[in-house]
């Protein structure tokens, strides 16, 4: 499903990715682990073409994502849900509207929006918060809302970049369980984290990065 082929990203005076090659098949739950600055975020941004590689190619199925025109890139992004460490919710929209916006973006009807949004909010246990703005929600609630937004259009891939970075252990556990549930339902999940505990909780494939290189790619129990 995802294929990184000798991908490098070099900023002015720093190497963010150094000749990275790996592939991910559909339905996998892959954790990318490494210290801050190891290149995890750059790598996840490459998949949605939020960053361009200096060298190499990134494929989503048979699509070279960095060769896409703006319109086609928009279509690709609709097939991917993204969750960020800092949530990146739309601050002047309510919880309901944040999710409705993602549905409107893909052209869903008002009827579908009215029926699906309450359902997904219930799934992440935010039914009672649908009229609240992001700044009226706790960190854990904001992250659950971000996940709800990421999954609402039933994407083929979820990318979660340090989704538990700002959360306490209880909220971290909840988020990991939600991501596992999403993966169980058939969605591919890529999780970038520096938290070993989270990886142990998941117990799936782990790609370890250091100084922009992939230094290990293994099942957690191997």
């Amino acid at each position: 499903m995802i294929y990184f082929n000798n991908v490098s990203k070099i900023y002015k005076d720093a190497v963010a990715l150094d000749d990275v090659t790996f592939s991910i098949t559909a339905g996998e739950f892959v954790s990318i682990v490494g210290h801050s600055g190891a290149g995890k975020t750059t790598l996840t941004k490459m998949i949605v073409a939020d960053e361009n590689p200096t060298n190499g190619t990134v494929f989503f199925e048979s699509i070279n994502v960095h060769k896409l025109k703006n319109k086609d890139l928009t279509k690709l992004r609709r097939r991917i849900g993204v969750v960020f460490q800092d949530f990146k919710l739309l601050s002047n929209k309510t919880a309901y509207e944040n999710i409705a916006f993602a549905m409107e973006a893909v052209g869903k009807s008002d009827l579908e929006i009215a029926s699906d949004v309450p359902h997904v909010l219930e799934l992440v246990d935010l039914s009672h918060r649908l009229d609240h703005f992001p700044n009226q929600l706790s960190g854990g609630e904001q992250q659950r809302l971000a996940i709800a937004r990421a999954i609402i259009n039933q994407p083929e891939l979820i990318i979660a970049d340090e989704p538990t970075g700002n959360l306490d252990s209880i909220n971290t556990y909840e988020i990991v369980q939600i991501l596992k549930k999403i993966n169980d339902l058939g969605t591919t999940v890529i999780l970038a984290t520096h938290n070993r505990g989270v990886i142990d909780l998941i117990g799936e494939r782990v790609i370890t990065m250091e100084n922009g290189k992939v230094i290990r790619d293994t099942k957690n129990n191997q």
Binding site: V48, A49, D50, N70, K71, T74, K75, R77, R78, V82, K88, L89, L90, S91, N92, K93, F101, A102, E104, A105, V106, G107, S109, D110, R149, N153
Partner: protein
């Protein structure tokens, strides 16, 4: 259609929820529109003053005593056919005498001398007004040219006062065209600087949302879906600012109309009311175009990803 409805609704929602930011943007657009209305009113005052001055300038053609009215009428007709001429008025010899007597009714020696002569010593007069002050010279030249003064009119013309007044006319012409050029440059400067300030204010309001714009793009929103609500917001700034500006100018022009009409030579309130729909259309269009175009360009750099 659904997309348009959603974009419009999002624009309105963003406007109401942005509170202070929207207020600041509206205030800035009001400033710009107020500058435009002020300039419209100042131009009206300037042109009305210039017209009063222009109206005071004319060229008078004095005819010989006894010149036939038919030939004078012929010259009048040929003058009226000139595109530069706005108006030609004829004063007969007897009317000229009557006016002379009226003007000098308290000047006994002059009236006595006139009575002594017996006959009317004054000739008929044509008073010529041109559309522009600069055109008097061409009228003077026309009077000198043989082919223009058909049927030998040159022998009935005594003289014209153009060359006596030439210096004053030339100076007035310089002042009027200078005032018009200066007014135009001043207008251009104020309008351009106001547009730049407004553009930057709107750019700042969009800069605040730049991260959210990136997020919208990442969740798969099309460029139009992201840009549209900002443009609607821009249009709302324009509409509200138009209403506020026109309301502010209502009492302001009324005050000027009551207290400054003598000084300005124009009742600004009457001018404002009688041209209200034209001013409204100019301001509304300027406001909306300013808001929408500023938003369109301000958001462009954040949409590229």
């Amino acid at each position: 259609m659904t997309e348009l409805k959603r974009i419009t609704k999002a624009g309105f929602t963003n406007f109401t929820r942005s509170g202070l930011v929207s207020f600041a943007a509206v205030l800035q657009v009001v400033n710009t529109l107020a500058v435009i209305v002020t300039i419209i009113l100042l131009q009206a005052v300037l042109y009305s003053s210039l017209n009063v001055i222009k109206d005071k300038v004319d060229v008078t053609i004095y005819f010989n005593v006894g010149a036939s009215e038919a030939r004078i009428a012929l010259l009048k007709d040929s003058l009226l056919k000139l595109p530069e001429v706005a108006n030609v008025s004829y004063t007969s010899a007897s009317e000229a005498l009557k006016l002379f007597r009226d003007r000098h009714q308290n000047d006994y020696p002059t009236i006595a001398a006139l009575d002594e002569i017996g006959d009317n010593p004054l000739g008929a007069v044509l008073n010529v007004k041109t559309k522009e002050v600069s055109q008097y010279e061409s009228i003077a030249n026309f009077l000198k040219s043989d082919n223009a003064l058909v049927l030998g009119s040159s022998d009935i013309v005594n003289h014209s006062n153009y060359y006596n007044n030439k210096l004053v006319i030339d100076r007035l012409n310089t002042i009027i065209s200078g005032a018009q050029k200066f007014g135009f440059l001043l207008t251009l400067y104020f309008i351009i600087s106001s547009i730049f300030i407004t553009f930057n204010t709107i750019r700042l309001t969009i800069f605040i949302s730049k991260e959210e714009i990136g997020v919208m793009r990442l969740v798969g929103a099309s460029k139009m879906r992201v840009r549209g609500p900002f443009m609607v917001e821009g249009a709302i700034y324009g509409i509200i600012s138009t209403i506020v500006t026109l309301l502010l100018f209502w009492p302001a022009t009324a005050w000027f109309g009551r207290n400054m009409t003598g000084f300005l030579g124009l009742n600004l309130y009457n001018y404002y009311i009688s041209n209200f729909f034209q001013i409204f259309a100019i301001i509304l269009l300027s406001g909306i175009i300013l808001g929408v175009i500023s938003s369109f360009f301000a958001i462009r750099k954040y949409l590229n990803k």
